[in-house]
Symmetry: C2
Subunit: 558 residues, 2 copies
């Protein structure tokens, strides 16, 4: 199996197998959590789950079928190894980590295939249709909504995971039109590396950037750190190609069209239920000269939210603007790494005291990160004007170092989540979006719903929120929530919280997901949000492309 | 019948019944056309077609069915009058005008209904389903691709046109989130008037603006004059509501979502084939302080095209940038109204001579209009930077008066088309879009195809082109073409040209329509562009919402 440009990822949790979160360097964090959540951290590092302890169902496919599939991709690209099957059995949600740690992997794919071409994918789908095998498309595998998990569905002889990692070629770079076409199995770092060689840049960096890729982003309507400026992936995709059980869909590679409903926008968010995305053309930009990220501290969350709205409606839109609520701002300070230079650390503590005298505090205020990317001269002017908006709303600029500290750590927090799960912390995230007139209301009701749901399992909670992807008409809301794990009932507890939060979102004008997607975890609310007529119509469309229903069954409620 | 805020439009041609084009004030134009096309203009004004000369098929619906429909909307909003039926029988394309002038209206709707509510629309669709009646949704009726024409299809008892003009209420204006919700039958001027009262602005002004409306724009993926800055209608629509024969589709009113494929993007461009759009929320903006439009003259077309690309990729994107090729620039001068002030006119002619000495000529160069809208201070800075790009590419700024002359006349040219048709001129427009790397090639091959197709009918031609809706990755191309009418074979001649042009577009990487839509005129190329699998899937989706196929049969190839 190829795909050597990819880093190796954990089967039981987030990210790079060789990376972790240096929680030992954050002395305040554990005592704080222990006090707030009533937990007791016995060991900072709990042992990794062992593959040996996972009891895996035997592959259900016959030798004949296995041979048929093996012959399509070649032995080197066909695996029934335990490690591969477990790796492709789950995504990266809290539920997934809990199950992996307990060795409970009930529905692994029976085989994992690594096709190298569209023709191979077509052949795989033909065999899968003929043999009644469920097919789960797999790009980076970082879904936190169950998107890559084979589900136990009646009527299938088995399931296979189709991992696109070998299909990572650059097909075309058109610097004149600022667009580039890639195979869908290319991951984030490789995209940016290939573009950088040519002085170009995509600018799509979700938290999963290092181990997620183009096909997965499109299938789940992903949003990157800089989506406020550059748009979500669906706005970057100019055209897309998808192999379905009934043929190839190839949308027209033009900047805009009035030729009927947009099939591109049907493929975006289809989560593998219609076919396997094999290629896409994306809009790119000239590589920015500077990446300027700054910290700001607002006296309260509302001032931050107001500033984001003003920025978005001013026409001067930053690439990144994040506003944390007070709970999150306070938490940021608790998890901070003290400087190894004692003088520097003292100076910082003095500065924090000084801030307090000026009426600013991380424990009562709202921490914000403002980032602009582009030409140096333009960025500095834009930052100036945007900072002026923040100042008018009561913000104190904290300078570049606070912004760059966030920037450097931008991919790290999921590693901390996995460590915390080992401490007995129930910790997860969820996200939504709504219009500005509704944003503070939705923030309050969802936060309250989560706090109450955590209390239902006799736990105190930490519930934080930030705005990180904004629009002239509204913004996303991203919640992080923690409580004490209900031992033995971890998944029940978590489902309870998800239910209460999802209900609050749908009842109060939010969307069930702004960028994580639906998978199977969000199906009940997706059905409400989409409406029965639209869903029925979408199902009819799916049945036309996938009449046997082999494509990622159970996702999007199909 | 209500809808009094709307102006009365012609049944046999373009626009306001009380408006025309002051061609008499353009002395150069007729001699120029006579020479170039070998025509002889006998009368500047040919008489309007008379309704009396149209022989209309008797309504095919039984009295019982008529009564059923009449009862839903009330007698005042139900019409079988000849005038209403003819008016709703055709759109505004060259083919339509030719047929209207010859009194040939073969497939008028049997009745025209003006519903006042969604409930009435639901009741209409229920009767239509039960009785096997084709339903054509109608907003402003300005389609130039046959979108509002009832087609003669087997299996229907008759057809009705459902005109939304009474459904023109403002449902919600949310100045905080910069969005507004309207009923779909509201027309352009009323939208802007309602928004203006509140200091807001939509900024969607297609050439049909004065007599087209929200539902029609969405159904056909319309583009306004300022789409380069503000986006096409599908980018302005935040959510949409549509009544289908099988229930109501109501997309979530949020700024962005990852909850499955975008049904909004399925409704956009659906051209009445899925249901009737009844409401939409659109993104609005603060009313601009200034509307600054300027003329520029490039030495050649290529320099203009290069400038547009640079603008679009610079991040400083004008609301409007139009670049005419040489043929169009030259034509603009021919159709110009000389100043009534002889001194002014002499000065202008002197200026044109001076330009020539500097190497600039409308007859060899490329005329351009650059428009920015917004705050005065920002607009002036933006115009300055954009003009600098043009200068670097060899442009000479002609100042505001040249820009404002274009701006004032921006809705007038279709009136001239109708007059020219009376002179025996075959005249129409078509449009496409492609990426920058392909733009000059597509321009050349489509232009050549049109010229050759016109020559096939023994006529000289005038074929002009402009870029008017641009993107960082590419642009639209808009062609105007003229020849001598092949008398008695007008429609055959025109179909020949459309075929050659459509073939050239699809063969060379364009889209069959950037903003006119598909209707029935573009069906053959739409099918090629969309691809058989996507089209089949879309048909399945349609059948789910409209199992009897009553919604606008024949459009989009359904």
């Amino acid at each position: 199996m190829d795909g050597s440009k990819k880093i190796e990822t954990r089967w039981w949790g987030w990210g790079d197998i060789n990376k972790t979160y240096p929680v030992e360097e954050r002395p305040e964090y554990i005592p704080f959590l222990e006090e707030r959540l009533g937990i007791k951290v016995e060991k900072v590092r709990t042992p990794d789950p062992s593959l040996d302890e996972v009891e895996l169902r035997q592959p259900r496919l016959s030798d004949e079928v296995m041979d048929e599939l093996r012959q399509i991709v070649g032995s080197a690209n066909f695996s029934t190894e335990k490690k591969d099957r477990v790796h492709h059995a789950i995504g990266k949600s809290y539920r997934d980590v809990i199950r992996a740690r307990s060795g409970s992997i009930p529905n692994p794919p029976d085989a994992v295939l690594f096709p190298g071409s569209e023709e191979e994918i077509q052949a795989i789908l033909a065999v899968a249709e003929k043999r009644g095998i469920a097919v789960v498309p797999y790009c980076g595998g970082s879904s936190v909504v169950g998107g890559v998990e084979p589900l136990d569905r009646d009527g299938f002889a088995g399931s296979i995971s189709v991992d696109l990692r070998r299909m990572d070629k650059v097909i075309m770079v058109d610097a004149e039109s600022l667009r580039a076409r890639f195979e869908a199995g290319i991951w984030g770092p490789q995209i940016e590396q290939e573009l950088k060689k040519r002085g170009l840049y995509l600018g799509h960096a979700p938290e999963s950037f290092l181990f997620s890729g183009l096909g997965g982003w499109i299938a789940s309507r992903s949003a990157g750190r800089q989506s406020t400026g550059y748009g979500k992936i669906e706005e970057m995709v100019e055209s897309v190609r998808m192999v379905t059980p009934r043929g190839v869909i190839d949308t027209r590679d033009v900047p805009a069209s009035a030729a009927g409903p947009s099939f591109k926008e049907i493929v975006c968010g289809s989560e593998g239920t219609l076919g396997i995305i094999t290629q896409a053309t994306v809009r790119v930009r000239v590589l920015p000269e500077v990446f300027d990220y700054r910290g700001l501290l607002f006296k309260e969350f509302e001032g931050g939210v107001q500033s984001v709205r003003e920025m978005m409606q001013s026409g001067n839109i930053p690439e990144t603007i994040r506003i944390s609520d007070t709970e999150e701002s306070s938490l940021a300070l608790r998890v901070r790494k003290p400087s190894s230079n004692p003088g520097k650390e003292m100076a910082l503590r003095a500065a924090l005291k000084m801030l307090k005298l000026l009426g600013y505090s991380f424990h009562r205020g709202s921490f914000s990160v403002l980032g602009c990317e582009g030409k140096a001269s333009e960025v500095s002017e834009r930052i100036k004007a945007l900072t002026a908006i923040c100042r008018r709303n009561g913000a104190l600029p904290l300078g570049k170092s606070a912004g760059m500290e966030w920037y450097r750590g931008r991919y790290d927090h999921p590693y901390l989540r996995d460590i915390m799960i080992g401490w007995g912390v129930m910790v997860d995230t969820l996200e939504t979006a709504t219009t500005w007139d509704n944003i503070m209301k939705l923030y309050r009701v969802v936060r309250k719903a989560i706090i109450e749901a955590i209390a239902d399992y006799d736990s105190d909670s930490i519930v934080t929120c930030h705005l990180s992807h904004s629009y002239p008409t509204g913004s996303s809301l991203y919640f992080i929530f923690m409580g004490k794990q209900a031992r033995g009932r971890e998944i029940e507890q978590w489902e309870h919280i998800k239910k209460k939060a999802g209900d609050a979102i749908i009842k109060n004008g939010g969307t069930i997901s702004h960028h994580h997607g639906v998978g199977y975890e969000h199906v009940p609310w997706f059905e409400k949000e989409y409406g029965p007529e639209a869903l029925k119509a979408l199902k009819a469309l799916k049945e036309s492309l996938d009449p046997k229903g082999i494509m990622n069954p159970g996702k999007l409620g199909f």
